[in-house]
Each structure stands twice: as structure tokens, then as C-alpha cells.
Symmetry: C2
Subunit: 115 residues, 2 copies
């Protein structure tokens, strides 16, 4: 675990967070700077930065993270109203923490373009 | 195939599109209303609307679509600069075509919030 990764420290319980879901592969918690009434981050427990680290296990893990995103949205009452899932890969996208994370946003009408 | 689904008709070749990648499971083509210098949509060939239709095959297919999104971004020279992947689920997210699709946006600095 990289000492300076804030998400690894959340997974380890060293930094408090509002966890809404967790399993053997991932943790979902509320974004501390929410951009919508519901704004949750789904992250793998493992310190994965980008596609390079995902080779091999990629489809299963990525798919699982998206399934968890959908479950979190459903638990949050967003299944019918809808929600947006966003992944920022690299600097142009504004990936602020270098640990793969899926944003789940809902509870308001999202606009276009998506940033 | 639903006759009124524009994405099914693109898959079938009935509506012209600029296809940048295709395989047995999915097709990737340029958004006709691009929101960034690179704006590609990755869709399953099958008419899948939401999570309900994905049960069972979901992790593998969703993961595969994201892997293809990454490949499209890499082919477009975005691997280093970065890119954003977005999925709109349902009305609040502005899902305009009811056929699952992943937006891949890059080639410019993306802003926050993501819409």
C-alpha cells in the first residue's frame, strides 16, 4: 500500500469515511466534496492506478465495480430516476487521486456536456 | 432488434456512422454531436438498455466495454493525456438513446462537476 494514497488509507480505515458498501474487492463511500445529492466513489481495495495495472483481471474487476455502482445507486433510490457513472483516467480528465475510482452521481438532473 | 433504436440500426449498418472499432460484442463510433475533440461511443451489439438486462453477463460485458473504451482512447493518442468515460443510466442522467453506451471524451481538459 502506497503510504501517500488517500484512498488506500480509507480502505485501511486510517482515514474516516462514510462507507455505503464494501466487499472483498471494493469499497464505496461518499465523496467529501459532493457534486450531486448522491455522490459516491467506488474503488478497488487494491491500489490500481490505470489500465496498465488491470491487464488480465481488467474485465472482471471493472465490470464488478460498475455492478457495485449500480447497486449503490439502487440502494440510494436512484434506479428509476437515473444516475451518471464517471471514470477519470489521467490528467486531462482531472483524476485527482491516482487510485482507480468510479463516481456515481444522482439525485438531480445532470447536464451535458459532462464537464 | 427494436426498429426504433438508432444504435441498433447503426450496429446493423442501416444508419451510417464513423466506426473506429468493432468486435463480436461491441461497436465504437464517433458521437455525431461531439463534446470534445475525441468523443466516441462504445455500445454492445445487443440491445441492452440498463442493468436489468445485464444480470448474469453483466460484469464481463461491462468490463469488456470499458476495456474497449480504453483501447479506443489509446488508439486516439489519449493514453498519456487522459480521458473521461461516462455512462448515463436513466432520465436524470440524460440518457437520450435507450441502448447502453459508454462515452469516451478526451483531447481537451475536462471540467468538474461532470455535468
Amino acid at each position: 500500500m502506497p503510504e501517500d494514497c488517500i484512498f488506500c488509507r480509507i480502505v485501511a480505515g486510517e482515514i474516516p469515511s462514510t462507507i455505503v458498501y464494501e466487499d472483498d474487492h471494493c469499497v464505496a463511500f461518499r465523496d467529501i466534496n459532493p457534486q450531486a445529492p448522491t455522490h459516491v466513489l467506488v474503488i478497488p481495495r487494491e491500489h490500481i492506478v490505470g489500465m496498465a495495472e488491470l491487464e488480465g483481471a481488467a474485465p472482471e474487476l471493472l465490470g464488478h465495480l460498475l455492478m457495485v455502482a449500480a447497486e449503490v445507486a439502487r440502494d440510494g433510490g436512484l434506479a428509476e430516476s437515473g444516475y451518471r457513472t464517471v471514470i477519470n483516467w489521467g490528467p486531462d480528465a482531472g483524476m485527482e487521486v491516482a487510485h482507480l475510482h468510479i463516481h456515481v452521481l444522482g439525485g438531480r438532473r445532470m447536464t451535458w456536456p459532462p464537464g
